[in-house]
Amino acid sequence: MRTPAPLRVLHVDLAGAPLAQHVKDSEAFDDPRDLYVVFWWRGLALGHAEIPLALWRSSSALSDLVARTVVPAVRGWLGPADDSLTEGSVLSRLETVCQPTPTVRSRKVSVVICTRDRPQALKRCLESVVRCSPQAAEVIVVDNAPATGVTRALVARYPAITYVAEPVPGLSAARNSGVRKATGEIVAFTDDDVTVHPQWVGWLGQSFENPSVQAVTGLVLPAELETPAQVVFEQVQGGFGGGHRHKTFGPAFFAAGKAKGVPVWRIGAGASMAVRRSAFDAVGLFDVRLGAGAAGCSEDSELWYRLLAEGWTCAYNPAAVVLHYHRETTAELQRQQMAYVRGHLAALFAQFSRYRHWGNLRRALLALPRYYLRRAPAELLRLAHLRQAGRSGGWFSNERAVAAEACLVMPSTYLAELRGYVEGLTLAPHLLAGSYSRSAGRQIKRSRHPHPTAGALPAGGGSD
């Protein structure tokens, strides 16, 4: 069992200082936290690994671990190994591919960031977006049903950034408002709780070289793993990470998954995505019944579903990297998980209602209940196990006792997910009817818990 003790996120550029130097630098660390290390070759994230600090001591043993970690990505970037790859330098060949090609730099990308009354997070995000090279053609901040004027005041400090106010609460409504304002050929979306990599805009643009690609997603890595909730989200619940290899989701992917519900959530995360402007004209905007502030989430994957259903292709580009600040507290994490499940269920119903693809219903009404039933005994065992681990005080158990409290968030997260499932079920009549009635909206607003968010909006968005 993995222990969700906090981890130090470390970025190591293999093109920079030798590994031995990074090992030496670690001696100055002031606390014994273990490491979550992301390995880069300049702008390319090649892999990541959790490494106990005690093992971050020998560069020869580490070099083998690092090599093993980055091999899949290196193979992805360089293609199948030929004989020459066995000799000489392998990594330095990445030099030729580690930047978006210059022809793409001229492609016009509009970046849309939706936010609500979180000036500190937004500032961090905007700082990273304006540092992008190549730059975005325009940056649009959508202020979603703000309670105060802090966002407007912050954006006013950046003359190049466009401010748009969207009074209707909800992430989908806000994103749609950004799309209507955008003039670029490509509209990239990110959230205010991330920072983007300097080449993020360039790589997203590059991925549209293929004309059938209508939407592109990118890699989301944790910006920090300081709290148990953040570690649990990243390691136990899988985080957002989509891996370090290119992926294409086309008609074959759609056809293969149709019977059981196409796993569109695997395509990526809304915190790092871009869509061709023309695609919105073809399949419509984000569904305002979904997303943070409405059903909870999945407004992004439901859009991808529509694109795939119409025969288009989505792509995942691991070079388009953003760093995401996960929810810090257990309560926030649970609200988020509840929203994920509720939103996911709502999206399945919406997808079914639009296309009559029965796989969606099958997943919603058979696969998901089965999944939660199967998880139940393990979650109960985990509770019992942790209670005991907390009592025994061994060398090995000690480590666990410290984490026991943190682990307890997992069973309660399970309960939160179950609750999300039930709430999602109650939305079914409205979503299946093809319209999101006012009563459903009110029902969500009246929910005792403030509304969780999938990304841009703070907890509470849309509930007041």
Binding site: M1, R2, T3, L14, P18, L19, A20, D34, A49, E50, I51, P52, A54, L55, R57, S58, S59, S60, A61, L62, S63, D64, L65, V66, A67, R68, V70, V71, P72, V74, R75, P80, A81, D83, L85, T86, E87, G88, S89, V90, L91, S92, H385, Q388, A389, R391, S392, G393, G394, W395, F396, S397, N398, E399, R400
Partner: protein
């Protein structure tokens, strides 16, 4: 079933390999600048002539990732130029025949004639039996002593106390060291000046029967070609660490820092009682080393070739021994480390789950190990646990 074995280097032109009419396959050891980086088995038509191109394809199909990883590893951490010398005694705890012992010593002599310096000490565990042809007569360059009993732990402790060097390497008499064996140990010691144990890789010296090939296909012997350093209570992705160290420790090929081993009280001779369980002795020692906070280093360059069990019965017995060794060791740790009991129960569960899953896979024909071997290993483990008083009484002393 008979496979040929070929030893190639990616930096050198590949040979063409003619198979004999009775050879139905090929085991390929791939090195990069002398360092072993991959070993793969290939079934081929008997008597085939494997051209260099064909060999290259076989190597790349099976080990492309290994070869790339080795190239990248060398790129981000170039091999050390200067290796420090190791003050070393190589101890062979012998139970086998004179022939096997002579092969083992012969390979060590070849290292010495290449300029390496170390002492060799043979500890005889059963000098009286006819199989060994009587006590070994000390050779000019090999010291010999007789173990106080048949057990492995007592023989090793005798060696620890007899030797005067900083490092003591323990080899089984059935192994032959590779020409890079000592260089591997030296590079590990140079890099990890705090290491208490260095353990190496074992590959087959021959593949002349079906059980030997099955043994090699079995994943549990694949400790891999990545150098590793283990220290402290956590290893991400390994639920059995640090209790089940069998994936990290090569019993027939390990070196201990003598003072560290003695400071821990040496090998546990209590584990010698009943049938001598080499596996339990080694895992117990490795656990105690890790528990004391010292690092354990795995260095695949410290390579030996060993003869795998030739008959199916011997192979089954080997699996049974691994399981029962783990059981005995877990039972001992359970009774001595009261504070770790909770974690140990988790390890026993994880071990059973892993093997039951393996059994299901082998029944479906998806695993490389036939079901009877997995059953033998599980049975060994459970019988050892069932026999243990400590576990039956839940560790209460005196009951």
């Amino acid at each position: 079933m008979h496979y040929a074995i070929v030893d190639v280097d990616v930096g050198v032109a590949l040979p063409s390999v003619p198979l004999r009419p009775w050879q139905e396959g090929l085991g390929v050891l791939v090195r990069r600048q002398g360092r072993p980086i991959s070993f793969s088995l290939h079934t081929l038509p008997p008597g085939a002539l494997v051209s260099p191109d064909h060999l290259r394809r076989l190597i790349m199909d099976a080990g492309e990732a290994d070869i790339l990883a080795a190239a990248i590893g060398d790129e981000i951490c170039p091999p050390q130029a200067a290796l420090s010398a190791v003050d070393l005694t190589v101890v062979i705890c012998s139970r086998g025949t004179k022939q096997s012992l002579e092969r083992c010593v012969g390979a060590l002599r070849a290292l010495q004639s290449a300029g390496e310096r170390f002492d060799t000490l043979v500890v005889q565990r059963n000098p009286g039996t006819a199989a060994t042809g009587g006590p070994i007569v000390a050779m000019s360059d090999v010291r010999a002593t007789v173990a106080p009993g048949p057990g492995l732990a007592s023989a090793r402790n005798r060696a620890l106390r007899t030797a005067r060097t900083e490092w003591v390497a323990f080899l089984d008499d059935e192994v032959e060291v590779d020409h890079g064996w000592l260089a591997g140990l030296r590079s590990a010691v140079t890099e990890h000046d705090d290491a208490a144990v260095v353990t190496g890789l074992a590959l087959p010296s021959e593949l002349t029967s079906k059980p030997q090939i099955q043994f090699e296909r079995g994943e549990r012997h694949r400790r891999g070609f990545d150098r590793r350093r283990l220290q402290g209570p956590r290893l991400p992705g390994d639920a059995l660490y640090p209790f089940d160290t069998s994936a990290l420790v090569t019993s027939c090929n390990m070196a201990y820092r003598r003072h560290a081993a003695l400071a821990l009280g040496g090998f546990d001779e209590a584990l010698d009682s009943g049938s001598p369980l080499q596996h339990a002795t080694d895992m117990d020692m490795a656990f105690r080393v890790l528990r004391s906070g010292r690092p354990l280093v795995y260095e695949p360059r410290m390579l030996v070739f060993r003869g795998h069990p030739v008959t199916r019965g011997a192979l089954r017995h080997d699996y049974w021994g691994t399981g029962s060794g783990l059981g005995v060791y877990l039972a001992k740790t359970y009774s001595t480390q009261a504070s770790e009991r909770h974690a140990l129960r988790g390890v026993a569960h994880a071990f059973s789950r892993r093997h039951l899953r393996e059994l299901r896979r082998s029944l479906d024909g998806r695993a490389s190990v036939p079901p009877d071997l997995t059953v033998a290993q599980l049975a060994g483990g459970f019988s050892a646990l069932a026999k243990s008083k400590a576990v039956r009484n839940d560790g209460r002393p005196g009951s």
